[in-house]
Amino acid sequence: MSDVTEQQGASQRTAASADPLELSRRRPDWSASQPLTRTQKIVMVSLAAALAAAFVVWPLKTAQGLIAVCTLFYVVMTLYKFVVIRASLSPSAILKFSASEIAAQEPRAWPLFSLLVPMYKEPETVKQMVASLAAMDYPADKKDVQILLEADDSVTLAAARALTMPPGFRVTEIPESFPRTKPKACNIGLHLATGEYLVIYDAEDLPEKDQLKKAVMAFEASPANVACVQSRLNYYNPRQNVLTRWFTAEYSAWFDLQLPGLAALGAVIPLGGTSNHFKTRILQELMGWDAYNVTEDCDLGVRLGRAGYTTRMLETTTWEEACSVFQFWIKQRTRWQKGYIQTWFVHMRQPLKLVKELGFVNFLHYQLLIGGVTFSVLVNPVFWAMALVWFVFRPEGAAQMFPGPVFAAGAVCLFLGNFVFIYINLLGCCKRKNDSLMWWALLTPVYWMMMSYSGWRAVIQFFRDPFVWEKTQHGLVKKG
């Protein structure tokens, strides 16, 4: 379909005609609308009962078994991180385009690019967001920018209407309905999108000016099965306080090392919340985002993999605002971890089918990335407490729970594994040329404790309020 016809078709569509819950309606097995299936509930209760019974009958052996399993898991995770980081250092891990390569493209006809910006009660960021997207180096007539605003968000709607929008910018009102989540708004935006490619930005995002052109070039240089190109995310306020320093170190490691490493290995990639560029047609085929999943980006990354598509990393950065207040950070992290739990359960409804669709290696990636990361966050405090007790009190019975080889493997994990994770953050900072943050990255274990706290909070919330979306507060950098 030509651009003109597509645009004409899109102009006839309205927000009201969109079905933002299409995925949960047509493919309920791929949606988190039902957090746990009946079978999953039965399996979980049976496992818990079996474990409790084992503890009563064979307390020591059960404890030994659990510790051995966890130790093996830590060993595997440490080795996995090694492999991913090593892969990330290979030149092919990330798609790169120099300024001269972009310049060499001109003159050319750039395709229509849809930009979706979901916002909620953020009137103070509207002006900055419009300015930064308008300033992007991409033909104005080829940009289709939709600011997605909830119908009841009168303050942001007023702020948006007060602005004179540049050409190609429009405000899309999202009708009030349940669930009130970002992916639901994005689905309506997707329904109204006219571009060949589509990208999501958050309200406070500052993408690099040439990002859209790089994304188009990346798609053109990649095989047809590349459905998504993920830009790197980082923060523009790393030095605001210790929390933003740690957060930046973590993000640098995640987006500059781990995701490129995963891309180099051809693994399923849990997409970042913003700056993921899609082929619109494929995204529509996949029915957009799951409106019930609170990390719809991560879920979409897995669904892309299941549908046979891949994701590549692009060397361009979108600058965001790091959450600088502890309680907001906890809420944001709780949402992310709850979303990972949702995603894991959704795709593990039919494990064999998942193996078939992803392939065995990608299935392992999935287990370690989505399930493993969450599991380690939850189990870490138990092992830290055990290590502390051993260091301080040296209890006699402790040795019984760690038979020889388990003790050796556990010691390796304690001393090598933890160090590897700290070192990865250091490496991320170094790669980002944030040298002054490297010293702060040494204190990352304190940050892990915060993650474990939010992890357990996420578990509780998963069972009590699975669809609650704890929104991240932005605009704090000015106050700080």
């Binding site: 760690f402 020889g404 080889p405 050796a408 070192y423 490496l427 040298d435 490297m438």
Partner: protein, 491 residues
């Protein structure tokens, strides 16, 4: 494009799979036929046995001396756990040498050379090991050290040449693992890591990030030392336990430590070459000249470190350092841009020269009594005197002696506290079996605690008997009431 990919895969398979497997298997056969050097080292196997049994002595032995490297023990542990002994030894030997050939590949590959050069370099290293006929050179501890040293040296050279972040990480990680390969490589490991920030000083762009390179390169090593200190504090009650032997072995430890790092001065010319090349280059990184200069200097440092240890009378394990030096030189040679036939000739010549130099250093192993025989004699001696006897065999030499021992009378002991033993085994007749303080045995903890124990015993230790190179001492203690009653009855 497809042909390129096919050729690339073929080279990868050849250098990363076929050649290492063939060469490691050949070395295993060679070692098995010649001198049993495939064995992991009796101490390593003994420590693993104790670790698997979960004893305190095993943990003490793992971290209790800077002269007995923990890395080979940790490497051998899964083999010892999963396989019966001869197979465990063979497998560990095979995997250790696979690692060396993989390290050779990584070290040569960075210079962008073809697959055949890598195969030649791998074959040359294997050839050197076979021709030199040094039993110690083939042991897994040497293989692991040599592989790590190659990785560290090549990473430092590549860092000077290309300024890639991955080289800092490789050098840092290799340096940290080298610290676990025993005292002889402490100096070279530290120097390799310290070189990273200094090598970057020739270019303004990388010079301003001095602290980043220092932190990234040095942190793993510092952390490793920190963990070793911590584990010594936790397991042996003294953070510096593993280093205490230095105070006994060398009269002036400060001078000795300074001397260990003094060969670092040999790196100065290579650093100057690197900076000069940097000054001429447009971009950071000064190319292959600096890399070659650094590799050659590093080989000289390794050789000089061996000499320093020999000078202080601690040259028990200089073979490892010499193997490392020759391997690094060989890598420097393989990375030079020269036709393949000339490379083959020069590597062949190098192997021949190094073997003749190395061969001159071979010392026949001292004849010692079989461990099983000594254990049997000691057991018989004690049984003849008391049914409640217990013999503590001291140190790493004890681990070696007890390797094949299945009885319960003899037990290893890594940290002699006569008072603690008496309290723990009240009512039993205790004995202590002390090895002769010669060679590496001098570094055992018992000798820096009781320097004259072998000749004259110590407080509450009474000489009992001599068994080969071992002296047996009886722990003197007042009899318990129960023993007195038994004695009276017997009388």
């Amino acid at each position: 494009m497809d042909q390129d990919r096919k050729a690339y895969r073929l080279v990868r398979l050849l250098t990363g799979g076929v050649t290492p497997v063939v060469l490691a298997a050949a070395l295993l056969v060679f070692a098995r036929l010649h001198d049993g050097a495939w064995e992991p080292g009796a101490q390593t196997a003994g420590i693993c046995r104790e670790l698997i049994a979960g004893t305190t002595e095993g943990r003490q032995a793992l971290f209790g001396s800077c002269w007995v490297a923990p890395l080979p023990v940790l490497f051998y542990l899964p083999f010892a756990w999963l396989l019966p002994e001869p197979c465990a030894g063979w497998s560990a030997f095979f995997v250790a040498w696979l690692f060396v050939f993989w390290a050779v590949r990584e070290a040569v590959k960075a210079a962008g050379h073809s697959g055949w050069r890598i195969v030649l370099a791998q074959s040359a290293i294997a050839g050197m090991m076979a021709v030199s006929r040094q039993p110690q050179a083939l042991q897994i501890a040497t293989a692991l050290t040599a592989g790590l040293m190659l990785l560290a040296a090549a990473a430092v050279a590549d860092w000077a040449a290309y300024r890639r972040l991955r080289d800092v990480v490789t050098a840092g990680a290799s340096g940290a693992f080298l610290m676990l390969c025993g005292f002889p490589v402490f100096g070279p490991a530290g120097l390799a890591v310290m070189l990273l920030p200094f090598a970057a000083c020739g270019d303004r762009e990388t010079r301003v990030r001095f602290q980043a390179w220092l932190l990234l390169g040095g942190l793993p090593l510092v952390y490793t030392v920190g963990v070793w200190l911590l584990l010594n504090r936790l397991i042996l009650g003294d953070a510096f336990f593993f280093l205490r032997s230095l105070g006994y072995l060398v009269p002036n430890p400060s001078l000795f430590l300074a001397s260990v790092f003094a060969p670092g001065l040999l790196l100065a010319p290579a650093l100057i070459v690197t900076w000069m090349c940097d000054a001429r280059a447009d971009k950071p990184g000064s190319g292959p000249v600096a890399a070659t200069a650094l590799l050659v200097s590093f080989a000289c440092v390794l050789s000089a470190c061996a000499k320093v240890l020999g000078f202080f009378g601690l040259g028990w394990n200089t073979v490892t350092l010499n193997v490392c030096a020759l391997a690094v030189l060989m890598i420097a040679l393989a990375r030079l841009r020269q036709p393949l036939y000339r490379l083959a000739l020069s590597l062949g010549l190098f192997v021949w020269l190094s073997a003749s130099w190395f061969g001159g250093q071979v010392q026949p192993p001292a004849a010692t009594a079989a461990p099983g025989k000594i254990c049997g004699e000691v057991e018989a001696y004690v049984n003849a005197r008391t049914p409640y006897g217990r013999v503590f065999v001291l140190g790493y030499a004890g681990m070696d002696l007890l390797r094949g021992y299945a009885g319960e009378r003899l037990m290893p002991n890594m940290d002699l506290h006569v008072g603690s033993l008496r309290r723990a085994y009240k009512g039993q007749n205790l004995y202590v079996l002390v090895p002769r303080p010669a060679g590496t045995v001098r570094a055992e903890s018992v000798f820096w605690k009781h320097p004259d124990i072998y000749a004259g015993g110590a407080e509450r230790l009474l000489y009992a008997e001599e068994f080969g190179e071992w002296h047996l001492f009886e722990v003197v203690s007042a009899p318990t009431q129960e023993q007195l009653d038994e004695w009276k009855k017997a009388k």
